[in-house]
């Protein structure tokens, strides 16, 4: 399994033909206490860079973008009851949705762990 990162602070785990998407620890730290996550319905067709989800902190609503194009296979139902999972376990239990990989070549422009870390350090 390979994990990639976007400059919008999403992570994407790739396993075969499907991927799991969430927001990074850096992102949840910036957002603060998360009180609601609006997730896409199963079957939604996502376009790379398009709106995929909305995460609401106490203070503000922020868009989460699709790191690649594909179809939503499953949304994380646990976030409905416990949106704070995004704060406590952003890169594991607090995942947002699983999706198909429409175009594998789109993964090439994403960052690996090391480049994402230096990207965050530069902010």
């Amino acid at each position: 399994m390979a994990r990639y990162f976007t400059d919008e602070h999403e992570w994407i785990d790739v396993e075969g033909d499907s991927a799991t998407v969430g927001i990074t620890d850096y992102a949840q730290e910036q957002l603060g206490d998360i009180v609601f996550v609006e997730l896409p319905d199963t079957g939604t067709m996502l376009e790379k860079g398009g709106d995929a989800a909305v995460v609401e902190s106490v203070k503000a609503a922020s868009d989460v973008y699709a790191p690649i194009s594909g179809e939503v296979m499953e949304a994380n139902g646990s976030l409905e009851d416990d949106p704070a999972l995004v704060n406590t376990s952003p890169e594991e239990d607090g995942w947002f949705f699983k999706m198909t990989i429409g175009d594998k070549s789109q993964l090439e422009g994403l960052m690996d762990d090391k480049s994402y870390k230096s990207f965050c350090d530069s902010l």
Binding site: G32, D33, A60
Partner: protein, 381 residues
């Protein structure tokens, strides 16, 4: 992912006396009202929800030094100020403070403020984002004999929460014992040898104090108060969620020149004698609205589910648009989203079932009484 807000056009933010102190406490600083201000702090007790809950259960220290502190003095001061504010100064005794409103000629709200009677002065606390406009407005409308002194060298700290009095009593010595300082009274005190004034008031709905102090003493006094086990520093984020739960309007969002105080339910800011006598800016409209009512009313909404409805969201009754949200967010104390809106009067009664449109979804919402969370003011034991 940016959640900052700029309240005016000042490009270079000003530096407040506690700027370095906030950064040393791990504050995340954001531009606000022309300054860099702490939105929340780091650490075990940091974060908007933790800071909010700490204030509701213990005591929080807020830096509100961005607000304007003004001293007015001069001959026939009361009459001059009554020509500008709808306040009845004949009933404002020394050592008392009262909420008032700066209105334009149409009765629109230019600012909301506190007026206190000092022995030879009136002391005003006005909003940070509007203070320069307020000073210009007051200077233009007050006679030349009235001196307006902007106390730019003073800081303002708010200590708020059910344990604020316990913590402050260990440090404040003055003309009153703290238990005698009831809600909306103030007095002169010393803290660590510095002359301060303390008012029993605030913007959270909790018991608490607003401490006006010399800017150069701000770090020492903030450190002293945060050294008490009950006290943690609290940022602007929790200040906003606390005041919203307390049903207190925020200027620039819930109040503006396009809103009248009667629409906003702030009739108490138009003192009784002035309601019949008039003689203040916008009196024609205000007195008419007091008699006839207003077409829209500022009201509280409980939002179903967990998705917050925020400023600008439209409110519907069926297909009819009946209002707009002016502030809204998730209530940490209640565990569900709350909002305030100007609603068509016929849809503003408690219990009215409405819908709020958020990202093309309709969220069911019910008009509820305010405050959302009961006030806990200290009116005497």
């Amino acid at each position: 992912m940016s959640d900052t807000e700029t309240e005016d056009d000042i490009v270079e933010p000003g530096v407040l006396p506690l700027d370095a102190w906030h950064r040393a406490q791990g504050a995340r600083m954001v531009p606000f009202a022309g300054y860099e201000m702490p939105i929340q702090y780091a650490g075990e007790h940091g974060g908007i929800v933790a800071e909010h809950e700490w204030t509701r259960t213990s005591a929080g220290l807020f830096d509100v030094s961005h607000m304007g502190q003004l001293l007015l003095s001069g001959p026939d001061l009361d009459a001059a100020v009554e020509a500008v504010l709808p306040i009845d100064l004949s009933t404002l005794k020394p050592g008392r403070q009262r909420y008032s409103l700066l209105l334009d000629e149409n009765g629109g709200v230019l600012d909301d403020l506190m007026v206190s009677r000092w022995p030879e002065h009136l002391y005003l606390v006005v909003n940070g984002a509007t203070k320069w406009d307020d000073i210009g407005h007051l200077r233009e409308h007050l006679p030349d004999e009235i001196t307006l002194n902007h106390l730019e060298d003073r800081a303002l700290l708010a200590l708020q929460g059910p344990k604020a009095a316990d913590a402050l009593a260990r440090h404040a010595k003055g003309e009153h014992e703290l238990p005698d300082l009831t809600f909306m009274r103030f007095g002169k005190f010393t803290i660590a040898g510095h002359d301060v004034t303390i008012a029993r008031a605030g913007y959270t709905g909790e018991d608490g104090f607003e401490i006006s102090l010399p800017g150069e003493a701000a770090e020492e006094i903030a450190t002293l108060l945060c050294g008490e086990p009950e006290v943690q520093p609290i940022g602007l984020g929790a200040r906003d969620s606390l005041r919203l739960e307390a049903g207190l309007p925020l200027y620039g969002h819930d109040l503006s020149p396009d809103t009248s105080p009667i629409e906003a339910g702030l009739i108490f800011g138009i003192n009784k004698r002035r309601r019949t006598e008039g003689g203040f800016p916008g009196a024609d409209r205000i007195t008419r609205e007091i008699v006839d009512g207003t077409a829209r009313k500022w009201a509280g909404l409980k939002v179903e589910g967990r998705m917050p409805a925020r400023e600008g969201a439209e409110v519907f009754s069926g297909d009819e648009k009946v209002g707009v949200i002016t502030s809204g967010g998730f209530s940490p104390s209640l565990g569900y989203p709350i909002a305030v809106a100007y609603l068509a009067a016929e849809h503003a009664a408690t219990g009215a079932a409405l819908e709020i449109e958020v990202r093309k979804k309709r969220l069911p919402a019910t008009v509820v009484p305010m405050p959302f969370v009961p006030h806990n003011y200290y009116r005497g034991s």
